[in-house]
């Protein structure tokens, strides 16, 4: 469950030798994943069992109170729960009933563990089982941990999908199935489906889908393609159901998208001519879109503070397709299996960091002064105020960036702060 380090020496070539740091971190916890998960899974409610801090975190990270009545909420623990004056399971049942009375149309409720619920060892797996039996045929309950002591940021999605993986129906047919794993925006899903269909890859499921009741079957004929680079636990859970991974780089940028689709096409024995016929048009569009940005970004340096696990594929994209020069790239943790096809593509001469120690890391950014620093929301403005240009990384999770048609949009996210610096005449940043 924890993000413990996998021995990097087994798989990593010389160009990927991260320095490990243990110190103050500046990352969200896994609860933040709820912000995009609840938009994707439209018949589910995410009920965090935690503290006022959890509730405040989610609404602050979401941009503060934007939806009418959100499909997420927090069962806030109080003194009475902690002192044992109230039975936490009775209380949870009451809160669940409250949620369902407001939203009787819900099909699933995710009980999401938090730091406080884990420290007091509140057994949410057990609660999910009990509630599933109680609401049998109406609502399914699934539990996962989004706590900050167990998870960072995007690991919330990993734990969510891993816990759903055991609920997927078993596939008993002999039909080949492709399962695309990881939340992608609907528009990206639709583009991907069209391309798979043109390649002649018949049965394709996306996990998670928009309906929690519509779960894809999984079995020994299921092939997995990861759409997001933070799904190590989900991968292991699906493999235990018999599925096999198609190792591929992630579909970020023209190169990543092509390699990703070709991996699937090769596994399905799609002829080279057909692959070229289907993939060349979007590939050329993506390259044309990127060409405009390459002139803006080429030769610019960047650093990335650890945040979402997207750092490694993004550094590959920015270096190889945009011509940028990485200085220091941090990632919260390194999962060698998930990153296996990315590492050989990484540029050399990069200072890789695994984990974080915030103050020294900020001092290094101040010393190396990259043209662009990719970092979390809390740090961006302070660096701007010191004359450094930044890109907030949370946007990379909320914006469609995957696939051929989004390659240009992805480059735009990094080009815009630099263009803005050139455009403004209100005093210089540096």
């Amino acid at each position: 469950m924890t993000a413990d380090v996998i021995a990097v020496s087994e798989v990593t070539p010389e160009r990927f030798q991260p320095v490990q740091e243990r110190g103050q971190r500046a990352v969200f916890c896994g609860l933040t994943s709820i912000i995009w998960l609840h938009r994707k899974i439209q018949d589910a409610f995410f009920l965090v069992v935690g503290s006022r801090t959890c509730a405040h975190l989610i609404q602050s990270a979401a941009g503060v109170m934007i939806f009418a009545e959100p499909r997420f909420g927090t069962a806030v623990l109080g003194d009475r729960d902690l002192a044992g004056m109230a039975d936490c399971h009775d209380e949870l049942d009451r809160v669940v009933a409250q949620v369902l009375s407001r939203r009787p149309e819900l099909k699933s409720i995710f009980l999401v563990g938090s730091c406080p619920s884990e420290v007091i060892k509140l057994d949410l797996d057990n609660a999910a089982g009990r509630l599933s039996r109680e609401y049998e045929g109406q609502v399914r309950f699934v539990s996962f941990s989004g706590s900050g002591i167990e998870t960072t940021f995007t690991q919330g999605e990993d734990n969510c999908l891993a816990s759903l993986a055991s609920d997927l129906p078993a596939d008993t047919t002999s039909e080949e199935r492709l399962l695309v794993v990881g939340t992608v925006p609907d528009i990206v899903e639709d583009q991907f489906r069209r391309l798979f269909s043109q390649l002649g890859i018949g049965h394709v499921d996306f996990f998670p889908g928009s309906q929690s009741t519509d779960l894809p079957a999984v079995g020994k004929n299921t092939k997995l393609l990861l759409a997001q680079p933070f799904l190590g636990e989900t991968l292991r859970a699906l493999e235990s159901r018999g599925a096999t991974l198609l190792p591929a780089p992630f579909p970020l940028g023209a190169e990543g998208s092509e390699a990703w689709f070709r991996t699937a096409a090769n596994a399905y024995g799609v002829a080279e001519e057909k692959q070229a016929a289907v993939l060349q048009p979007p590939l050329q569009r993506a390259k044309a879109a990127l060409g405009k940005y390459r002139s803006e970004l080429s030769g610019k340096s960047f650093s990335m503070l650890p945040d979402s696990q997207l750092e490694i594929p993004l550094a590959r994209f920015l270096a190889r397709e945009c011509g940028m020069t990485p200085k220091e790239v941090g990632t919260p943790y390194f999962d060698a299996r998930v990153m296996a096809e990315e590492v050989p593509l990484l540029p050399s001469g990069v200072d890789w960091v695994e984990g974080q120690d915030l103050d020294p890391a900020l001092d290094r950014v101040r010393a190396t002064r990259p043209d662009l620093t990719v970092c979390g929301l809390g740090i961006a403005n302070p660096l701007e105020a010191e004359g450094l240009r930044t890109k907030w990384s949370i946007e990379l999770l909320f914006t469609p960036i995957q696939g051929f048609e989004q390659a240009g949009d992805l480059a735009e996210l990094f080009a815009r702060p630099l263009r803005r610096e050139r455009a403004l005449e209100v005093g210089s940043w540096s």
Binding site: C29, T53, S60, F72, C88, C115, G148, E150
Partner: protein, 517 residues
Amino acid sequence: MELTLWTYEGPPHVGAIRVAASMRGVHLVLHAPQGDTYADLLFTMIERDGKRPPVTYTTFQARDLGASTAEKFLNTLQAAYDHHKPSLLLVADSCTAELLQDQPGTLAETAGLPVPVVPLEMAAYSRKENWGASETFYHLVRAVLSAQRNAEEKPADQGSSNRRRTVNLLGPTKLGFRCRDDIQEIQRLLQSVGIGVNVVAPLGADINDISRIPEADANVCLYPEVALTTCTWLERNFGQPVIRTVPLGFGATQDFLSELAGVLQVDISAEAVADCRLPWYSRSVDSTYLTGKRVFVFGDGMHAMTCARVAQQEMGFEVVGLGTYSREMAREVRGMAKELGLEALITDDHMVVEQAVSELRPELVLGTQMERHIAKRLGIGCAVISTPAHVQDYPARFSPQMGVEGANVLFDTWVHPLIMGLEEHLLHMFRDDFEFNDHAAPSHLSHGEGTLMAVEESNVVALAGVRWEDGAEKELKKIPFFVRGKAKRNTERYAEERGLTAIDIETLYEAKAHYSR
């Protein structure tokens, strides 16, 4: 356990961070897991702070649980001191760390750091953000002043009546509502009447400033949610009277100056508020249309109460609902609501507030960011008067709420969402014109932003068992659409109270006569 969808206040340790971030040379070491670092973005994104708040989080993880979290805290404390070299350290637990019972306060005392260390108990499972800010400010002031009280006594220089009187302005913080501008305005006001400002704290103060607090003649409790506990302690221990009137609104600013004059034994000329434009703007004929506009007021205790007074007495609105999420201020808010003939709404559940707003159908909502969204959904105009607020409520321009200029700002801000007086008449006269139809919003507002959309029939749920006859329904449509919702609601209530099952034209006009003011 309490189901919370959106919250008005963060946890108490966010209040502690607000106090630390407001001051210079103060650093907070917070024993907390990694996710709690989200608090940084409140300051850097909502208030656009150019610096990270001065807080170091221990960011312990599951693998640290057990014996080593205490060690992690001590290492973090030392590293934070070495890196930031503060003149005072605050030490606190967040909610999760409170459960570990590592006692960071006690641990910090053993660390032997060369600066004062102030331990805080944040009671994360029963208290909230403003309480946390209040506790932090109180313990910080107490720690600094108690240490020096033994060393020196306050000079008894009260003799000369010509001596320039000074006050402290207490309570403004980062992420407070318009604190930056309020302080500037109140300092200007005090300067204009010859009263000096000794210390402003926490915002902008350092430890040296805190140690000079006792030198002032009185403490102005500008933001009671944060400063009242401290002011009360200072009154008891240093004999400093507390100025309790918050100068928000024209009348309150006058009362504030009167209270100052009485407490400080000085003459203050009424000229000080003479250049305020609110009184004339409000008496001006074009403001007649503001008369009796139904207003719902909700916010922290201080802002809700001061704004309710302005709404009622200075704008000529009718306050139809008053409430607060500040339980600490519940008694005062209840008292004021009673004076207005209302029952106060004391809740931190925004769904309860939404219910109240949709039942009362006010024409304007004065509230927080939360009520802004409620009002938007219900198609009612809204002005934000209190935290929680979003980035647009930390404006670039000078925009105080307090003092003379503050009153001017309130007039402009609250009138803006309402349909302009003359425009209201024109809309009535030309209501059949294709451009001035029932769905045209005020020209200065984008679609859906203003009060005008409030009364679309579809939004008004008909009471069960009451049927509108055709003639009455046609007559209803002749009523100007901006009051039609109220007419429909009143008629239905009238019919229901009399056990009628159908509404005809007679019922409509009987109800109109019954409810006419």
